[in-house]
């Protein structure tokens, strides 16, 4: 049915109306952050779509995991056994060192460090929007995830939780243009800020004086100063130090150590002595320190 006489507002009026809506949304969302509570709700609302969109990939992964030769499985198993032996040995050493560290900290009257609760999450989707670096994971408020929580992978810091939905949440990656991590150089403790630049394998460091001792290949670890990221996790490796005396500061570029462009599983960290979902009881099990749920 094509009406001969149009009814309702004209296209111009509609356009003006929706553009005003857009302008208002952009202003309130970007400048005032007044949509933070609504974002979580919206995130839960669209999470079925995200689960649906990721279904083909899950199926492929499932197929790839199931159609595998016995030989391959045996090889993998062998490798994991060797790895476990090595890690177990390191864990034993770590336990002794940790006890010693705790004793020394007690002597210095510093607060002891507890264990952090951890949880494995799987990546649901990666944003196709080139302006933001975010991923969606399959854990939400039901699992106790909270906004600003640190997210790591097996190599280093990945990002932090941006919006929490009921069953899924959104992670802001460290390479996003709006993100920065307080870091320090592991070699000498020099403090820096690692800001994302919108490029997937680059972090930049602003306001580093020419005199600071920083070299290519230095590892940056989190300093724990912002109270967002726990201390001591690797962030990035310094790739280039350009000391151009005509500029006020030296230009430093580094590459994230986490495999940001090929994430599949990530680890969520809760702060020590978490009161969110009870304390873990792993204090009595020294060999099993990192209790992974």
């Amino acid at each position: 049915m094509n009406p001969i006489f149009k009814h309702g507002p004209s296209p111009q009026h509609r356009l003006v109306l929706v553009l005003l809506c857009s302008a208002a949304l952009i202003f309130f969302d970007h400048k005032m952050n007044s949509f933070e509570p609504a974002r979580g709700f919206l995130q839960s609302l669209v999470s079925p779509l995200q689960y649906l969109a990721t279904a083909p990939k899950q199926m492929m992964n499932w197929a790839a995991e199931n159609i595998i030769t016995r030989r391959q499985l045996l090889d993998d198993n062998q490798q994991y056994k060797i790895n476990e032996l090595v890690f177990h040995e390191q864990a034993l050493q770590l336990d002794i060192v940790q006890r010693e560290n705790n004793r020394l900290r007690a002597l210095l009257a510093s607060p002891l460090r507890g264990d952090a609760r951890k949880m494995v999450a799987e990546i649901l989707s990666v944003d196709s929007d080139p302006y933001t670096h975010q991923v969606v994971i399959n854990r939400g408020a039901n699992d106790g995830v909270y906004e600003g929580q640190a997210v790591i992978d097996d190599a280093g810091i990945v990002g932090q939780i941006l919006h929490v939905g009921t069953t899924s949440s959104r992670v802001l990656l460290i390479t996003d243009i709006t993100h920065a991590v307080p870091a320090r150089i592991r070699r000498n403790g020099l403090r820096l800020i690692a800001s994302g630049g919108g490029v997937i394998d680059r972090l930049t460091h602003n306001y580093v004086p020419h005199s600071s001792d920083i070299r290519t290949g230095d590892l940056l670890v989190t300093s724990g100063l912002g109270n967002k990221f726990p201390e001591g996790y690797p962030v990035a490796k310094v790739m280039a130090v350009i000391q151009d005396e005509s500029r006020a500061f030296s230009q430093i570029k580094s590459q994230p150590v986490a495999k940001i462009d090929r994430l599949r599983y990530v680890l969520l960290l809760w702060p020590e002595q978490s009161n969110l979902q009870g304390l873990n009881e792993s204090k009595k099990l020294p060999a099993n320190k990192a209790k992974i749920k």
Binding site: M1, N2, P3, K6, P11, R14, L15, L17, V18, L19, C21, S22, A23, A24, L25, I26, D29, H30, F35, L42, Q43, L45, V46, L49, Q50, L52, A53, T54, P56, K57, I123, S125, V126, D127, S128, D129, P130, Y131, T132, Q134, V136, L162, H163, R170, I177, T178, G198, I200, D261
Partner: protein, 159 residues
């Protein structure tokens, strides 16, 4: 418009949304065509009294939520692009499919540029040529999407 045809229309838009958030390898991801824009253009050309600026804005808003961008950015860009189609649907309908594809390409470029300008205004994003790669895939996609959606529309007699 019956409920069945309404459902079919919504499901094409839903499939377009799914295609635009489906995970892809990083190298292919830069070439992801604007599925939602293409489907909206088709319905706007075919049934301008049903799909118009407001439905485009709603789809853009859902895309904003799905992509995690600032709310209203994709919505506004989508509304402006569809407004141009809605204003000229009688002309565009008479063009051949390839001419339509070129127009869709220009509008897709406009859409990406509006999104970029808004992002530039909000977060100091830097322009990379790769932001316009989807324009080419969208041009290639249009004839196939057009034929498929026309078949769907005629088959289910959506008017």
């Amino acid at each position: 418009m019956s409920i069945a045809s309404r459902l079919i229309m919504f499901s094409t838009l839903l499939v377009a949304l799914l295609a635009s958030i489906m995970p892809l390898p990083l190298s292919v991801d830069a070439f992801r065509p604007d599925w939602v824009l293409v489907v909206l253009f088709y319905w706007c050309l075919a049934l301008p009294s049903r799909v118009n600026v407001i439905s485009a804005w709603v789809m853009g808003f859902i895309l904003d939520v799905l992509l995690g961008s600032t709310l209203g950015v994709h919505a506004g860009a989508m509304a402006i692009s569809v407004y141009i189609v809605a204003g000229n649907f009688q002309k565009i309908r008479n063009f051949s499919v390839w001419q339509q594809a070129l127009i869709v390409g220009v509008l897709s470029a406009l859409y990406h540029l509006i999104v970029f300008w808004l992002q530039r205004f909000l977060t100091d994003a830097v322009f990379l040529p790769s932001y316009l790669y989807p324009v080419f895939t969208t041009i290639i996609l249009w004839p196939w999407a057009f034929l498929l959606l026309r078949k769907i529309r005629r088959n289910f007699r959506i008017t």
